[in-house]
Each structure stands twice: as structure tokens, then as C-alpha cells.
Amino acid sequence: MAMDAMEQKLRPPEIPLKPYPPKVITLASGEKMVVREAKREEAGALLGTIYPLLGVPADFYDIVAARMYSEILGWFRYRVANEFVLVGTINGVIAGIVTSRHVTPKLGMSLHTMTIKRGLRVGAQLFAAKMEHHLDILGEEEVYIVAESPNGFKRWMIEYELEDRSSQFPEVRHELGGVPTYVLTRPLWEAVRDVKCTGTRPVLDADLKTSAKLIMPSEYPQIPGFKR
């Protein structure tokens, strides 16, 4: 009981979030990627997927892996408030993961985007799904976004034409350190939604079943010769 009481003190207050309805996207390869919300009990598979990338400096995989590892661990152990994790799977195999946080009814905090399977715009699709969750489902008005790699900067800041609020620091600041804060506002989202965000709902049971049990990738394009 003493432990439980302490644990309660350690946990942040949480707002029940609307669930993210799953969707399916046919990637250029013809493979179907199911995008759905991850469950806490799936944290092991998510962490196991990220772990090998901690040692990959190319394209800043190491820093994104390290931060996402802590974000998912924090979510699993109830140390981050109102976090959600979306996962993209192809035949059950994890192709990418995104993490994010609902801060207030009007504000979202985008955390990280991790692409495992490359060359099919998996990361771009998952980032768009994350923004869809923030703005269309949770009903927020703005999402704070930072980039920790040139790929991220190109994909989000430039392609979405995000609003640069870095001059308003420290009043406007993303939670991930002091890197410049950019913002996806509702008008910006509405301008790009149709060309950035896609997917079919509802997902057929047969497709959803493929994603029921998360499978850690057996190979990584980022780590030639990897063996689990």
C-alpha cells in the first residue's frame, strides 16, 4: 500500500484521450500498412524495435532512438502525461513509430517519428497520422514541432510550411530542449491535409488482424547484417 501511494504521487495527472481510429494505407510497394494506436502492453515490442538503432549515428537515428526509447518507457511507466504512440505495421512487422503528447485541449506536443522501413514514405505517413490525431481527433488548435535531423526539418518544417515561432522563445518553447519551435496551426493543416494525410477507414478485419500482434523487425536497412 505504501508503494501504491508513492506510485500515485509519482504519476502525472492524465486526461482521457479519444482513441485514434485505425486506418490502412497502401504503400507504393503495394504493401498495406496498418496505422493504429499502440497499447501500453505492447511497449516491449516497441522498445525492442528501437533499441538496435541506438548505435546508428547516420541520419541521427541514435538521438531519435534514445529519445523515443525514453518516451515510450515514460509512457509505459506512467511518467509522461497524456502521451500517445501510433505504430505502422506491414504484415504485423513494425515499420515505424510516432510519439506525441496532448498538453491542453488546444495544444499538442509532437515528440518523435521513427522510420524503420525506408523508401516508402512510412515516416511521412505516420507523421501525418500523428497530426491528424492532434488536430482532427483530439481537436487541438496547434501542435509544437521540432526537428532533430535534416530529414525531419525537410519533411516537416519545409514541406508543411510550419510557422516559425522561435523568436517567441522562451514564451513559446517545445519540451525537447531549446531547439527552435515550429508550429502546425489549424489553417496550415487544412492547407496540406489532402496532400499529406491519407488512409482508408474502417480497416477490414483481415487487415486489422495482421496488426494484432506487433512483430519486431528481423532486419534493418540502417544496420546491414543485423541479426536479432
Partner: protein, 398 residues
Amino acid sequence: MAKVGVVGIGHTKFGNLSEFDLGDIMAYAATDALEDAGFLEKRKEIDQVIVGNMASGLFCHQSAVASSVISKMDMEPVPAELVENGPASGASAIKIGYMAVASGMADIVLVIAGEVMRKVTGWTGTEYVATMLHPQAEYDMGLTLPGFGGMFTRMYMEKYGLTERDLALLAVKNHANGAKNKYAHIQAECTIEAIADGPEANVVNTYVAEPLRMYSTCPVSDGAAALLLVNMDSPKAKLFSKKPIRIAGIASATDTHCVHNRKDPLKLDAVRIAGEKAYAMAGLTPKDISFAELHDAFSILELAISEEVGFFERGKSFLAVRKGETEIDGRLPINTSGGLKSKGHPVGATGVSQAVELVRQLRGEAEEGRQVRDPKYGMAVNFGGFGNNVVAMIFAKE
């Protein structure tokens, strides 16, 4: 003129090699070619090295790459010079190497070409490539090569009825070939449903320079390729382990630097003239060609070039694509390597990479599933600028 043959080919995998030095990847490809020819230990007997590269000064902040490669390969004092002709630098290097051998000035020439483009972002890379446009009339106006590709595609669509789906069919074909090519940057197939017909296609296959989409545009790639040329009439031709593949025709032509100075921007005169000269030199016609590698930096160029070199009537090539005539088992397979779209396009390396593919096919060494059946003649067109400096090559199995 002496007969000139290719006795060795080398190639790196194309893709993101930005952690490597340009000279190192060129040396890798050259070593591969020399090993293929069984001539690595005798490399100092080579008479001349010609290096093709477009923009190492911009992309890598490095000049004099010919000297760098020679030193990395321990080949001093073999003479080495650099050839630059935009994205046709590779084929121009082959042409200069060919001229050296055919003229009798050299018996054995090593041609190496390479580019490392991914040390900078794709946006910066696109800007660097745009420096080959007319400085005042085009570059300063903000034009880029994808911009030209988009405008050219739009004009072609309006004149001949090409659709975006036709461009997607080219991507499906070329990715099917590239998926089987061990050197290709993008070794992945794509489906017509996913990139054109399906409900998510508009996002999955997003616009790059409307009406060109991502799957109608080549990736930004790093890589290198090499050829060893020999005078087939010389006793030295017997020194090599592989039977030569003869360069039957090689020619280049130029067109106006400013595209707007052309009477009809849809006509690529330099391609047509280079092709005609190469056919004349080889004593062949378009009907003799078994397969071709055409410079599809943008998918529309595969169509336009295939018409200019006489494979199809003007404005009709996409109808042949619809019928599958340019697939690997079709009447005239085009871009058996995956083309620039799937194999990749390290600009300065592309012409030599195309030549390597001609040799692999003519030797019967292409991977299962993308080997053309019993080819006799292969043609390649390497396209410089926006069609202002073009090289055509025809290789023959002897």
C-alpha cells in the same frame, strides 16, 4: 580507326554513399573493372585514365578528382584527365576514351565516373544541379531541372494525350527491373494501384513538380562506375580475361543552352542528331537495337528520347508502354537496369553506369528476371543539361 571494345566493367551500388570520399568510390568501381578484366596487377600498363564527374567542387568541395583517384589506386604515372559535361559527363568520358583508342594514341584506357551528391540535402543538390542551366535566362529565374521536367511533361500531355497514369506505368516497369539489379539505389517494386489507381495514390505518390510526381522523378544518388577500353586490333587485346564488347557507335550533339531558344521545346534535336550519328557509325538502324538504356531523370524523358532515336513515332511511345512493349520480355526492353528512376542518378556517373548495363546484358550477366533474351545491340542515351549536350552509344556483341 581502330576497333574499340570494353573488356572490364565495374560499379558501386548506387544510393547514399555520402560517408565515403568521392575518390574512394571511384577507386572502388575502377578496381572492380580491373578485376573483371583480370588486369588489376597490371594497371600501370594502362595508357590513359579518363575521369567523368559533373560537380565535385560543389557537392564535395573537392577538385582535381582525377589526381585523387590515380593516387588512391597507386597508378602514378599513368596520365589522367577529367571530363565534365553535366549529367552526360560519364558518356562524354567514354567518348573521349574511345577517341584516344580509336585514334591510335592509346591502346588501353580506363574510364571512371562518379558523383557524391548526398553530402548535401536534396534541396541543395537540386540547386547545384540547376547551375548547369543558362545563368541569366534560366537559373536566375529560379528554374530547376525538375521544373523543366514538369513543364516538358505538361506540354507533351497537352499535345499527345499522355496521362499521369502512363508515367506511373513507366515507374512500375523500371522499378520491377531495378528491384532485381544489385547496383540499384531503390531495389523495390511499386504497383500501379498504389501509385496511380488507389484512393491513397495522391499522397503516396506526391507531386514534385506538377504533373511530375515522386515516382516520375529519379532519386538523388551517390555512386561510381568504370569501364576498361582496349584496341581490339592490338595484340594487347589478348591480355584480358573477358571477350570484348565492341563500341559500335558513339556520338554526341548539342542544342541551344536556353530551352526557350528552341523552335519546338518538345523536340530534342541533340538527342536525335547524336542518335543518327551513332547509328551511322555502327551501320545500324533503330530496328536493329535489342534493348536500350535511356536517361529517364524524369519519366517523360524515357518517352521523348525513345521517340527521338527512332524507336517509336513522335507522340506514340506511351502507347507502346501501355502494351508492355518496353518491358523486359517485350519487343524492345527499355531501362533494363531500372533506369535512373530506380537504379539512381549520381549525375556524373550515369553515362558509364548505362554502358556497364549494356555490357552486362550483352555478356548475358544480368540478374535472373531482367536479362534480355539473346541481345545483339544495346543503345544508351546520356542526356546533358536539358537536352543541350547529349551522347548516344551503341554497343555490340561480337
